[in-house]
Each structure stands twice: as C-alpha cells, then as structure tokens.
C-alpha cells in the first residue's frame, strides 16, 4: 500500500453566519447576504484545492466539547437537523454526512497507544455539532468526501494552555502517523476562530454589516500578529505564543484545534496562504491554507 499523505491543512472557522448569508438549500433561514469577505475567502480556498485529489477530510471542531478525553465519530453515516443552540435564528441545517470510520479508528487506536484518553462515538442518535457542519459545508458543500470528526477535549479548561498544547501536539502527531499508514490522501481542518470575544447583543437584522467590527483593537492586533506568523512560515512562534494569545485574545484556540492542526503539519516553516479575514459578531476569523502538496520534499 502506498504511503498516505496530508495534502493540505486549513484553518477553517465555523461561524453559522456564513452559511446563513450564503443561503444554501439545506439551511432553513434566509439572509440578505453578509460577511462577504469571509465567504469569498472560502470560495478562494475551495478554488485553491479544486485540482487536488484527496480521499477524506479530518476535522477537529471546538463545538463537540468533551471533558473526558478525545472522541471520534464511529458510525458510517449521520443525517439529521442541526439547529445551532446559540444562533438558532441563523442556522437550521439538514445534513447528511459520511464518516471514514476506518481512519477514525486508526487515529483513535494510535492516540490510545500514546496514552491519550479516547472514545469512539457509536450512538446513532448523536447529533453532529454545528461547528463541524458549518466548516464541512463551507469547505466542501458537495459533502462528497468522508469525514473523520474529532471532538475538542477541553483540557485548557481543566489545566492550562500549556497542557492543552502538549496533548494536542501529541494528538496531531498520532493523527499524522495514522494518515500516513492509512495510504489515504487527506485534508486536515481546524475549525476555529482566532480572537473570540463576542458581542452579546445582536442587531435587528443580524447581517447588518454596519454593526460588524472586531470587539477591541487589542483583539485585532493579536489576530494580525498570528496571521503574520502564518504568512511568513513562523508557525513555531504561534505555538510558542499560544498561551498568551489564547488568554489575552480569548481565542478559540482554547479548543486545541489550531495546535492539533499545526502538529499534523509538523509545524510548517513555509508560508501559508491567507484566503480571507473578517469579523463575525466581533470575533476574528481567518481562512488559511497550508498547501502541503507544494512543499513535498524532492
């Protein structure tokens, strides 16, 4: 069997506002549009990867929050209605997604061997979190690739960013190992915002863009700093500064997805492609691609 590979890694945030404003047929509410900068960013990401062949998508979403280890979807198909518990006015999405259970089990087993607490989720009534659904839709609305869906272990809440990083670096390492051993070509997605301080009020028309901006200048500065590191191939600095970033920008990196992503990519030292940046109800969101396929060793 040929060795598997990660063909690309992406930071792919999940604000339901993007799906709402895009008006896909699976979503019940309809918007006048909005957040175009980010929706265009996703368009550029999809275009960038349109010629790349891959077998599966591996995604870690901060909205499947588990406090007892890391969990993996363990059934081949999930279909239901996803209603966002926070923005139910924006996101009521009928989903039908396939899971690469074999690859999920391989990552699970390797993580278990590495000493991480893990569990396969095999309850057929389980509703997939809206973060996974949103990122899955915005990244590939055809839903024609099987996914591996990994929960967000909330070790940041229990211990510290440093402990979270240790665990997510290890999870990323074993994820990579499992992918290479699987013989499959895979895209890995971290579904999280950067700075993550929300407004707690909403304008009468949620997509009223005259009300949309970052919650504070300090958040903006942090987001730009992290984006600069991504664009200039300095991901080790992101790892190094993750504790300060996570705490001071109240960043959604607390869910571990971003650290996990960088670990699966072996903390890249080549430039990432920034496809878009914008704010959503005050939070900072970047759509970023690490085009691994362009950086294979000769």
């Amino acid at each position: 069997m040929a060795q598997g590979e990660i063909v690309a890694g992406c930071l792919a945030p999940h604000p339901p506002h993007l799906v709402y404003a895009e008006n896909p047929e699976q979503n019940e509410p309809v918007a006048e549009g909005g957040w175009e900068q980010l929706r265009w960013g996703y368009e550029r990401l999809r275009e960038s990867l349109s010629e790349i062949e891959y077998d599966a998508i591996v995604i870690l979403s901060p909205h499947w929050q588990t406090y007892i280890g890391t969990h993996f979807l363990g059934l081949e198909n999930f279909q239901s209605l996803s209603v966002d518990p926070i923005f139910p006015n924006l996101f009521r999405y009928h989903y039908d997604m396939n899971v690469d259970v074999e690859l999920a089990q391989q990552i699970h087993d390797k993580a278990q061997d590495a000493g991480l607490a893990v569990k396969m989720m095999t309850n057929p009534d389980f509703r997939v979190d809206y973060g996974t659904i949103t990122t899955g839709h915005m990244f590939r609305p055809q839903w024609d690739k099987p996914l591996v869906v990994i929960s967000s272990n909330r070790s940041r809440a229990y211990y510290s960013v440093e402990v979270m990083q240790e665990m997510m670096m290890e999870l990323g390492r074993v994820t990579r190992e499992a992918i290479l051993e699987s013989g499959k070509k895979v895209v890995v997605l971290a579904s999280n915002s950067l700075s993550h301080r929300h407004f707690t009020t909403e304008s009468e028309i949620p997509e009223d863009m005259s009300k949309e901006h970052i919650t504070s200048h300090a958040m903006h500065l942090w987001d730009m700093r992290i984006i600069d590191y991504m664009k200039s191939g300095q991901c080790q600095r992101i790892i190094d500064e993750m504790p300060e970033f996570t705490e001071q920008a109240i960043a959604e990196t607390d869910g571990g997805a971003f650290t996990w992503l960088l670990s699966t990519l072996e903390v890249p030292n080549y430039p990432a492609i920034l496809h878009g940046y914008g704010t959503i109800i005050g939070t900072g969101n970047a759509i970023v691609e690490w085009p691994v396929y362009k950086h294979k060793e000769a």
Binding site: I68, P88, K119, Y158, H198, T200, S203, I281
Partner: protein, 463 residues
C-alpha cells in the same frame, strides 16, 4: 397585580446518569431517589409552572427562552453518549416565555424566544424535566445561561421573571440545573470508582450545602465569584445560577433548606437541594451588592439599553468629559468617562501611565457597592470591596485597550477616603487581584475624591 409566587426552589444535577444509569452506582441511584422526592414535593406544592435556568445551555446573544409549546427530539450527551439516548417531549408554557422575553427587553436585556423544530434542548434541562415532571402535567419554561453575563445581568433576568410570575398569578418552582464543583475526571472510570474529584472540591461543596441547608441562599450568591475561582472549571464567567436563584427568591437568606442528596457524578459535585420560602429564622445578610433593576446592554443596538443609560450619567458627581487625545493617549469606551480634560492612559515608550481610576461603571456611571454619600452630602453605607474590585476591573479594561494586561502592572498609588473603615476590605480585594501580580504599592488617606467614591488607584504598567 395578581399574587403569583415562587412556591419552591431546587438545585438539581445535570448529568444523564440519573436518567440512564442510576443502577450502575449507589450514589447515582441516591441522586435519582432525591430527584423522585423532589418531584413529589413539587406535586404536593400545587405548582403550575416549572422555571429552569440551565447551565448546560450556554448562550452568547443575551438570554434565550424556549417557546416551542411541545419540543420533541432525542438527546444524546456529548461526553456520555455510550449511556444511551433520552427521548423527550415537553410541555412548555409558551405564553409565559413570551411575556418573560418582553419583560427582559423592557429591563434592558437582550432576549430571544426560541421556537424552532429540532432545537437541541440541553442535557441539564432534559434531565431535570424528565425526572421532576415525568408525566408533563406541569408546564415549564427554560432559560439559557449567558456565558458572559455577570451578576447584574443575571439578577435582572430573574427580576423580570418574578414580575411575570406575579402578574400572571402563577405558583412557580424555580430550578437551577447545575453542578457544584464541576471538575470531572478527565479519563474514563469504572462507575463503582466514582467519587468527588478532590478533597478540596468536596470541602467546598459541603460548605455550600451547609449554607443552602440553612436556607442562606443569598450568602451563596454573594460567594459565587469565590466559588467559581475555587472549584469550577473555567467554562463560563462565574458561578451564576446562584445569582439567578437568589434573585428569584428576593435575595433572601432565611429560606428553609433541605439537602436531599449529595453525590459525585464522574467526579463532579452533584446535589438535589430543596429551598422552601418558609422563613427559617437563619441568616441575616452580612453585606449587599447593588440591587440592580435594569441592564444597560452594549454596542447600542438595543433601544432599551440606550434609554436606560441616560439618567445614570448625571447621578454620581461632576459632569463627564470626553477623554483627551494627545499623542500616546489610550482611551476606551469600556472605562468610565473622565471628570476632566485628561485621557484614560498615556503611553511613553514601553510604559503606560494611567489617570486615577475609580469604580464608576462605563456607560451607566453607577458605583458598584454604592456611593459614599447622596447628592445632599449625607453619608451612605457602601461596600469597599465591591468598589475596589470595580477599580481593578476598570484598570484591566484600560490596560487591555492599550495592548497590556493586569499582570503587567508595576506600581500603584491607592487613595482611600476613610482609611480606618476601608483599609481591610480594600486590602483583601487587593490580595486576591493585584496582590497576586506583585506591583509596588503606596496607600494614602485623602479627604475626598471628585465623585462619591471611596477608592481610586493611580497605576503605572508596562506594555
């Protein structure tokens, strides 16, 4: 106005074990039996409404209220999915939810009714309603827990609810679905090995239950921030269900409490507690926080918020100024406006020099803990700890606006208008906040400050 009232209150646990697997652990089974006992108390009370404040339904955009008259779905817990599924079909009092929602808005809160097919009712609400109201005889209403809300917002939420209970003449039961200590084991355990995660968590839980058993609900509410720091995983801002439940009971400290069970569920502290409004004779309140009636909101997108801000601007001292904007100035809407021509802070090199910071609140100009005198100069009782904490919070906001943070404070000069009365309380808050950062400090007694406040700090920090 009709004579509606809160006839019973309960604290109940949120985990699905009591519904799906009580037989797997003796403690889980005792919690289940306590749940059943609570259901009987509710039936005997003649209650006609259950009001659930659920900590497992976090919201960001204000508070949300279920208004679907008959929400139905299948609930699977994110962590404990292997225990099975819970089918639910609840009887919701949509009319009450709509009235409460409107009252919330009238009091300045962002609030929304939720009536969408398939909306995922949270695990805490599902467990509570399944066990407390098994035949769906009593209609219910469920409200979310806003992750950012602090005491004032949570208190106003409860007061709005009480208003509607009274107006509609309901006999209501107030329920908080919550854990005490919420630290679970981070690995899978055999059910027979379950216990409270740590001795420290257990001791704090027992102290909370001692208070609740004596009916001292408001005391627990006033300890909420401390409890959050000591035994809570930092998922949200503060241990807020006790604020809500206390405000639902008019912030009383003399209820009749009864702890029906206290057990561990995967390490977390879980209790079923009954609080009856009958006076027990216990518990005079030792101190009070602000008795806030409206919330001022943020971002100016709520009409009600704008309206409620206006009168407060002029109540606490001299006229307010827009901060000046000389080179290097740092100003923020998140700090109170100056009372003269100066900025909130000024940056020189890598150092930040802050103007004197008091406890007044941005937007409302209110003084947490109360002003030290009224507009005629008559002395008032006030809370130096609340004022000091508000000063520290304002300092933190200014520093964050400048790209710094509270842990970069280097030097503080503090001014107290009554050293004998206030030094101890001020010093205690200092020890819990800036004292942990470690700046140098000088504390001076002065005759007065420009606004009716008791404490002000002058700060130098690094970037």
């Amino acid at each position: 106005m009709s004579n509606g009232e809160i006839v019973e209150s309960f604290v109940v646990p949120v985990h699905p074990h009591t519904v799906l697997a009580p037989e797997q652990n003796e403690g889980w089974n005792r919690l289940r039996q306590a749940y059943d006992e609570a259901a009987k108390i509710i039936t005997d009370s003649g209650a006609d409404l259950l009001i659930i404040y659920s900590t497992t339904w976090p919201s960001i955009i204000g508070h949300q209220l279920i208004s679907d008259p008959n929400p139905e779905w299948v609930m699977v817990d994110h962590d404990f999915h292997e225990l099975g599924s819970i089918n639910y079909s609840f009887n919701i009092d949509a009319e009450f939810a709509e009235l409460w929602n409107a009252e919330n808005k009238a009091r300045g809160l962002q609030s929304r009714c939720v009536n969408y097919q398939g909306f995922p009712i949270d695990v805490g609400s599902v467990v509570a309603l399944t066990l407390l109201n098994p035949d769906n005889k009593i209609p219910a209403v469920i409200v979310s827990s806003n992750v950012y809300a602090d005491r004032s917002e949570t208190t106003v939420l409860a007061k709005a609810c009480r208003d509607i209970v009274k107006k509609t003449g309901r006999k209501a039961v107030a329920i908080t679905a919550m854990s005490l200590s919420n630290r679970m084991f981070t690995e899978h355990i055999d059910p027979k090995d379950d216990k409270i995660h740590s001795l420290k968590d257990d001791e704090w839980n027992r102290k909370i239950l001692e208070f609740l058993g004596e009916g001292r609900l408001e005391d627990v509410g006033q300890l909420s921030r401390t409890i959050q720091q000591q035994i809570r995983v930092q998922k949200v801002v503060n241990f807020k269900p006790m604020w809500w439940l206390s405000a639902m009971n008019e912030n009383r400290n003399n209820l009749t409490g009864n702890v029906l069970a206290y057990e561990a569920v995967h390490g977390a502290g879980c209790a079923v507690v009954n609080l009856n409004p009958t006076e027990s004779g216990f518990g005079d309140k030792e101190y009070d926080e602000d008795n806030v009636e409206v919330f001022s909101g943020e971002r100016g997108v709520l009409d009600s918020a704008t309206k409620t801000q206006e009168p407060a601007q002029t109540t606490n001292g001299p006229a307010l100024w827009e901060p000046t904007k000389a080179e290097g100035s740092v100003n923020t809407d998140s700090a109170p406006k100056p009372v003269g021509a100066y900025p909130h802070a000024r940056r020189v090199g890598d150092l930040l020099y802050l103007s004197g910071v008091g406890p007044r609140q941005p937007g409302t100009n209110e003084i947490p803990g109360g002003p030290i005198h009224d507009q005629q100069g008559n002395p008032l009782n006030y809370d130096i700890k609340a004022q000091t904490q508000a000063v520290v919070d304002n300092i933190s906001r200014i520093l964050e606006e400048a790209g710094s943070s509270i842990d970069k404070v280097l030097d503080v000069t503090s001014f107290l208008v009554d050293m004998d009365r206030d030094f101890q309380g001020y010093n205690e808050v200092w020890a819990e906040t800036l004292g942990k950062v470690g700046p140098t400090r000088t504390t001076l007694a002065i005759r007065a400050l420009p606004t009716p406040i008791a404490v002000e700090m002058k700060v130098i920090a690094s970037i």
